[in-house]
Symmetry: C2
Subunit: 192 residues, 2 copies
């Protein structure tokens, strides 16, 4: 049930909130236990170590956005697909903002094995974006003086930095932001 809040279920969201605010390295297991209302040692009944938690957060977040954005893009017409994709990315990433931010910014704290797994998943996501852009270029819907790789990196710029300044308390909604970023990127990616 989505409303359950057992210690196990709260662990990942509580850790994500903590890791985003303080950074993974500066967040302590004591702070995490305090936020959950249990003792430090009790954490280790639920997790094997701190880094596992970071890995779980990263994989959950990537699975979530891959599913949401992939589904939205597949259901759209070719003409609207890029706009739908950007909108879905902004709304989805901000709906799990803590986990998404941690996934994007705490890569270097992962073990080599976990890092490789997360990077492979991030590459899958970026390939999804690049395929849409390349297809739009081939169909004449986007400019071709900038290659698909560089245009995709430009799109990742437009999308990803948002996590550092978006404030849910502002009156800017994720939906409106999605429209703005889609408008700026797509019209810039069409060119004059």
């Amino acid at each position: 049930m989505a409303v359950e809040s057992s210690t196990s279920e709260r662990l990942m969201t509580t850790a994500a909130d903590l890791f985003r605010r303080k950074g993974y390295a500066q967040a302590t297991t004591r702070e995490l236990a305090d936020a959950l209302g249990i003792r430090k040692a009790s954490l280790y009944y639920h997790i094997s170590n701190k880094e596992d938690l970071l890995f779980a957060i990263s994989m959950h977040s990537l699975g979530h956005i891959l599913e949401a954005v992939g589904t939205a893009a597949a259901a759209a017409t070719e003409e609207e697909r890029l706009r739908v994709l950007i909108q879905a990315h902004v709304v989805t990433s901000l709906s799990e903002r803590d986990m998404h931010t941690v996934m994007l910014t705490e890569l270097r704290a992962l073990s080599p094995e976990h890092l490789a797994t997360v990077i492979a998943e991030r590459d899958r996501y970026e390939a999804l974006l690049r395929d849409v852009i390349a297809d739009d270029q081939e169909a004449g819907r986007l400019r071709t003086d900038i290659d698909a790789k560089l245009l995709t990196l430009s799109l990742l710029n437009v999308l990803n930095w948002t996590i550092f300044w978006f404030d849910p308390a502002d009156d800017l909604t994720p939906e409106r932001l999605g429209e703005v970023l889609a408008a700026v990127f797509i019209e810039g990616a069409i060119g004059r």
Copy 2:
């Protein structure tokens, strides 16, 4: 002299390189001392503590980009000003990539007093961008269906995420990247 490399002069660039690669919290004073070829304790002849080093790096980086971008924008015609500004930002930020990245991503490790000082300087920089964008809107050179604040945040997205993927070893030069990002953002900010 620019070619000097006394311990004092190497300290800030060596620390910036380390802080960018490992993160401020995970980078140790031992690693920094090792990279400099001295003992850990000897660091404290040059600095008062680790956080001071982060503050010095952040302020140096902000002073550098404020000066370079401000000068470039002031020397340009109104029609070319935004393009010149974006180009100068990309080239300048990547010319001191380590310090610039640390300044952008390690804010939360600063003491409250240092944090306030750095934020004030970042606000000055962002005001410079917003003033150019607002002026371009008033003169009819940019779309007005997105307000200046949101358009500025969109520009910061386009510019800032670059630090996470730009690789000096690639064949993409900062100059070419500046052209691409300027083209995408400006044409998107003009609209159809």
